[in-house]
Symmetry: C2
């Protein structure tokens, strides 16, 4: 038996660590595991921040990403934007403190929501190269400055150095850093693909990219209008938990419970309050919300679940949009058929509204070519940010794979199918800090399934139509093989001309296979084209 | 175009949040997503802590888990142990501050390593039920106390109340809490299965479980000896990054670089230092390690990678052990064949040593019965803790699926195969804070693959032997069908007795199929049994 030790002795080894120390020791949790993924994570965090900043400022984003190799598995990465910039006094907090730049107390749809991403890049740079990040920014004329930032990880505090005003006529933000233990690769999980998908889901952005070989690519702006800036929304009564209500109640400035409910939650009107009173008989709706108890709130929740509600307000959630998804899929996959679906807003835990969009594309360059033929692919997005990693346990993957594809005459394992899903919300429940996959919240998985099923149904009739046509063509050809012999036989019996009979039989057969004829005749091509273009969204 | 906003205005909305607030908003990152999973997460965190505490104190653990349903989707969970207890003055820090009870500055193998788990339970309880956790503990005679704890999430500080000394003769720790938004289910992902697998990988523990229906189960102690308490180890020079060396250098008490290297890193001897000098010519090995520069360290890393090293020291990493894995698999799966492999210690990023164990079991109740037949299953463990969720992107799943099972005459998709993998290390690189999957670090995935391949090879000869026997039996039967006719024909030609001839022919055929005969004859059964038992580990 090993020696025994006392608790007092053991607990002496306890230490309190800063969150920065924690992530320094566990950088894989921020997405910094694997060389290729680590490099994409840096680009992902910085580009996401740029898009958010431009959107918040109401500006059409011009983003530039430059990657240079500067050593073995060592690269410099620069991300520039034309956004609002960072005020000088905030630069340390925004880029070099973990959890300082958070905006998660607000109820607004944004790509970044944690206040970890940018500081994570700074941390990763200093761990792997010992360098500070270089920042150049300006929030307006005459306000340009540059500096270096890094994190004092022991205390999770920013270190800003070389801060100087510069005369350069610069507007926006330029963040540059050096990173080691990374690798650039042109693959499905590489930076180019990440930016391509970002452009796809953010048509209002112009993204320029210079890869390590000096090759320049531009993803041009496809939409000239700025998407409306998402404004804060209120949580919907459905999905709220006791604790949620209490938190709002303890923070409110309302003096009475009834008014508090109307002010803080979506779809609650004075009329609704009257209705709620019927179900929460023990709750005093005149009481000060600050004195709300757990059991009061519990009764309110029950009442919430007993009355009818208008579905949640989705006006402040901005999905990609059906039209844009169609244009984008047409451009990149040129599928034979596609169907795009945007679901109505729904809520999950905490009364948080979200919207799911899904598209199913068949044929063209959809899916992925394999040695044996094809396999389906799933393009995942959260608040228009492409998710490239950790697909296995993501709600999108699970939802899309879980539907019975056979019912829709399709097979995700063997056919050229691409499924696109975008989940938009004021708060995406990411399963990890690295934000590469969405947690399997029941309501979200359900909505994803419904959206994908609806999109699959839209494609089904064309896929099964295609299958039917294929079968009919085979049957038609089989019959036609006998027409010559039949005409010959009939001619001998009836004395009529063989050629005339053959033509007549052919006409007769053709009449029974109108689709096949339509498909084979050139002149109808135009019509078919029209049909297919309608086919893209039969539910419209 | 939307209105534009200035940076100054935008950044006013920035707020600094405590890590407790962050996880309150993102509890899914701690494993609290989904009702069934959330319940298992509570048990997982508390049991893990109990096992660690007992092990650190050098005591054989007796653990008791009691779950009661107390409302709709509302349960009370109690976990009791006979361990060293928590000193009164540490109880708040240990159970109600996130990142306070960390031991990750030490280089010791432990199940918990983050200082998040237990506090996460407390947080989850207060979010879902508004209740505090109840704690009863004693670190020795006359030191028993009880109290309630919760977290002040805004400041991430503990709230301890009702603290009182109790006269009860209690030793160890008793943590109880109420949790809502959870569900007990008896499935592959439920508490019973979690405890069963915990018992499997911790044979020195006795675990008693009372489920919500009052049914009691005991997983008895299978090994009476306490596994040796893991002691701190040193990182191996291979796998170290520049930043790692600098951190050690800045913390050391050594005065000279050479001595510093010998003292801080595994396998570095004065002789090795002499060798390293040959490769790091620009580095002054007499210098004060506190003055070590980034480029010095860079040169050292290159030198580390240029000399030969003894493989890392694995003595302080405690795997489950081949014998124990065999016994456990025999008990729960009773497979026809199995093979268990323990790899030599390897290192990954940061010079962190780790050991992979793998087992492949075939037949019996291995794998999972499906409508179409069977499918293989993967049992994942990290430091002997069963991992039940997030299997998709786990290094174990990826590694085990990535090998070419056909080469080993097996098919993981359709056969009754169970693969067990346990990764042991002083620092497991979990991909998330919820610690349910291991990040895909290259070195770890490689070791997992090698271990599974080796175990598969061990089973292969028996599986292919079984296949061969099956084929031979078929051929034997086919031939035997003709013996009667052949004997008849020969008898007519030669005049010999038909029955005599038939017997002779049968003997002749049997001689060519010795394996088939052995398999069909009762008397040899014993021998076959013996062979199969050897078969369990052909590499022994």
């Amino acid at each position: 038996m090993a020696e025994t030790r006392k608790a007092e002795e053991i607990f002496k080894e306890f230490k309190e660590h800063s969150i920065a120390e924690f992530f320094k020791k566990n950088r894989q949790m921020l997405g910094y595991s694997g060389k290729i993924r680590s490099l994409v994570t840096v680009v992902h965090e910085l580009v996401t921040n740029s898009l958010d900043a431009c959107e918040e400022a109401g500006m059409l984003p011009n983003i530039e990403v430059k990657i240079k190799q500067i050593g073995e598995e060592k690269y410099s990465i620069a991300v520039l934007d034309n956004g609002p910039g960072i005020p000088k006094n905030y630069v340390g907090k925004a880029l070099a403190v973990i959890l300082a730049g958070t905006k998660f107390h607000r109820y607004v749809q944004q790509r970044g929501q944690q206040g970890i991403g940018a500081a994570g890049c700074t941390l990763f740079s200093q761990i792997t190269t010992g360098k500070q990040m270089f920042v150049k920014s300006s929030t307006g004329a005459g306000k340009a400055y540059s500096c270096n930032v890094s994190i004092d990880t022991v205390h999770n505090k920013p270190i800003v150095s070389n801060l100087q005003d510069i005369s350069e006529n610069f507007r926006g933000l330029d963040v540059e850093g050096e990173f080691a233990d990374v690798k650039y690769e042109n693959s499905d999980h590489g930076v180019y693909e990440y930016l391509r998908r970002t452009a796809l889901s953010n048509p209002h952005a112009e993204i320029r990219f210079t890869d390590p070989e000096g090759k320049e690519s531009t993803f041009v702006r496809a939409a000239q209008t700025m998407p409306e800036r998402p404004k804060p929304t209120k949580p919907h009564p459905l999905g709220l938990a006791v604790n949620d209500i209490l938190e709002y109640a303890h923070r409110t400035e309302s003096r009475k419970l009834g008014a508090f409910l109307v002010e803080n939650f979506s779809r609650v009107t004075p009329n609704k309050v009257a209705e709620l009173k019927e179900f929460a008989k023990n709750v005093d709706f005149e009481k000060d919300p600050h004195t709300l108890t757990w059991s009061d709130a519990e009764e309110l929740i029950k009442a919430f679940n007993s009355v009818k509600w208008i579905s949640p307000d989705g006006t402040q959630i901005k999905p990609i949009g059906e039209e844009q998804i169609k244009v984008a899929l047409k451009n990149i996959l040129d599928p034979e058929f596609m169907s795009v679906v945007e679901r109505k807003p729904a809520v999950f835990k905490g009364g948080i509204p979200f919207i799911v969009e899904a598209a199913v594309a068949f044929g063209g360059t959809a899916g992925k070519k394999t040695d044996e033929g094809y396999s389906g692919t799933i393009l995942r997005f959260a608040n228009r940010v492409p998710l490239l990693f950790d697909s296995g346990s993501c709600a999108i993957t699970v939802g899309a794979r879980d539907i019975q594809w056979k019912r829709y005459s399709m097979d995700l394992e063997t056919q050229p199918i691409s499924v696109l899903v975008n989940v938009s919300s004021v708060h995406i429940p990411y399963s990890g800090v690295g934000k590469e996959s969405i947690a399997q919240e029941e309501e979200i998985v359900d909505e994803i399934k419904l959206a994908v099923m609806e999109a699959a149904r839209g494609v089904q009739r064309y896929v099964s139509g295609k299958l039917r046509l294929h079968n009919e063509e085979n049957r038609y050809k089989t019959i036609m093989r006998y027409t010559k012999q039949l005409a010959q036989d009939l001619s001998e019996i009836t004395g009529k001309d063989r050629k005339v009979l053959e033509k007549e039989i052919e006409k007769l057969v053709a009449k029974h296979y109108p689709k096949v004829m339509e498909h084979e005749n050139g002149p109808d091509e135009g019509k078919r084209g029209k049909e297919e273009s309608d086919a893209e969204d039969p539910d419209e």
